[in-house]
């Protein structure tokens, strides 16, 4: 994995450093947090993490799409999609951290 990408492992390592649980338990807790967020979203709930952002589920209606290669029309079934809306705090931190100079 490139050093420009963090994974679950980096998050569990941070929990391990910060809280002092075993590495194994830290990894399990990271998984638990992701699992709870996913389960709430699958139930159709919004998940609001203050100062981070909001995950919400939106229903999209069916529409007729087109295969861009062949031009053929294909029906796209109604589906549920997840959107993440970053909080102002997260936006500000990302903007200022990546500002040139």
């Amino acid at each position: 994995m490139s050093e420009n990408t963090l994974t679950r492992m980096d998050l569990s390592e941070a929990v391990f450093r910060e809280v002092g649980l075993s590495r194994n338990e830290s990894a399990q807790l990271v998984e638990t947090v992701l699992q709870h967020i996913s389960d709430a979203l699958v139930r159709g709930e919004q998940v609001k993490i203050s100062s981070f952002g909001t995950f919400s589920v939106r229903d999209k209606g069916s529409r007729v799409g087109r295969n861009p290669k062949t031009g053929e029309e294909v029906p796209i079934d109604p589906r549920r999609v997840l959107t993440f809306r970053p909080s102002h705090i997260l936006k500000d931190r990302v903007a200022s951290g990546n500002r040139a100079g």
Partner: protein
């Protein structure tokens, strides 16, 4: 579900942990993701999704109320793409 409810649920499932430790665990996870994005890094959580940043060029915007043009600086914004497993689960496909 809000942050405190998430902490509450995890605390209930882990009676051997102090609530304040669960709080620190949850906060550490989101803080770590925030710091990575602030450094311009990506956070890839297989099955759940990936957080990354996107660069937006400077542009001339318009105040929608007055119609006045305003300079909008180039900036970097957070972005999230849903993972395949979660996307399938949202649509009732469990695997």
């Amino acid at each position: 579900m809000i942050r405190s409810e998430l902490i509450q649920k995890i605390a209930e499932e882990n009676p051997h942990l102090f609530q304040r430790d669960v709080e620190r665990i949850v906060n550490t996870i989101f803080e770590e993701i925030t710091e990575a994005l602030a450094r311009g890094q990506r956070v890839e959580l297989r099955g759940f999704g990936a957080f990354s940043v996107k660069h937006r060029d400077a542009r001339i915007g318009r105040n929608p109320r007055t119609g006045e043009s305003v300079d909008v600086e180039a900036k970097t914004v957070p972005f999230f793409k849903t993972g395949k497993l979660l996307r399938n689960r949202l649509n009732g496909k469990e695997d």
